[in-house]
Assembly symmetry: C2
Homo-oligomer: 183 residues x 2
């Protein structure tokens, strides 16, 4: 239970996964992160999930408990009252950082003068494909959430993501056309 110390957003993100009620193991936290956080935050490495949970526990924001199943022991974490309060306080702070987009396709397109339009088009076509796969993943996630009121906000966010992928596909498709119809 160490002192108030500003935590990185990823800590709050993982803490947030525990705020829906279930007790989760590090492994399960990773899976949830993989299926939700990945789309608009990050997919932390397995090792980071464990160290982050350790830190949250030190701060008294989560509580770990060794659950002895048949043979194998699993360490599961639940959010504490302090954790829920701390998370809530963070959520209510005004968002000071504008979203950061690390878009390697846009970055490479920027330097298209070095590769030519054909290479740029090929890259964008691949990107449209990747976008389709991503969208399919998110559709599955959205379906998994269902329409339960508990997950109303995650559902909204998933729909936001879907709308974003749709728009991105359209924008890139237009871009592709504008690169094709060059003299």
């Amino acid at each position: 239970m160490s002192q108030e110390r500003e935590l990185p957003a990823t800590s709050y993100a993982l803490l947030g996964l525990l705020s829906f009620g279930q007790e989760l193991s590090g492994y399960e936290v990773k899976q949830w992160a993989e299926s939700t956080l990945r789309f608009y935050w990050v997919a932390p490495a397995m090792s980071q999930v464990y160290s982050e949970l350790g830190r949250l526990a030190e701060h008294g924001l989560v509580a770990g408990r060794d659950e002895a199943g048949a043979g194998r022991t699993v360490r599961r974490y639940r959010i504490t009252d302090a954790g829920r309060e701390r998370l809530r306080a963070w959520l209510l702070e005004p968002v000071d950082d504008f979203p950061v987009l690390k878009h390697p396709v846009a970055l490479k397109l920027l330097l298209g003068h070095l590769t030519g339009a054909a290479a740029a088009r090929e890259m964008l076509e691949r990107y449209v494909d990747a976008l389709g796969e991503r969208r399919a993943d998110l559709v599955a996630v959205r379906a998994g959430i269902g329409d339960d009121a508990t997950f109303a906000y995650p559902a909204k966010v998933a729909e936001w993501g879907l709308a974003y992928y749709d728009s991105e596909r359209e924008i890139v498709t237009r871009l592709l056309r504008s690169l094709s119809t060059r003299p």
Copy 2:
């Protein structure tokens, strides 16, 4: 001129800024990054710009030259043939990473059950405002690029960004409406 060693994308991004022909100082590279890379990659810290340029110089991908002006000496870098070739090779590699979005607003909205709809709406309204400011910045950047053929790709990318901001504004506005019309 050290050995072939995989460089992080940010190195290539900065190298890319030098691929448009001009000789730039670290300070100027930072300014270009601030006005273009920021929107779809990152805005590296000043200190990173200098250390990155140092590394690129060690690898022989850029060449630095002390330019003695009136009094103050400025160190300017230009891309070398090796640098241009290396950059081109990197550009032609297939993009393996899907864009990463670090979206604090989406992250916080996901946890809306802890704060309620009113707080969520307020956050989204602020975000729409911030989006407007960002868009205005990018409009200025697009205007600065002009219609010169040298910067045709940067212009395309800027327009992509503008379309993205427009779509994001619309999506969030819809989201906001769906949060308001709750019983």
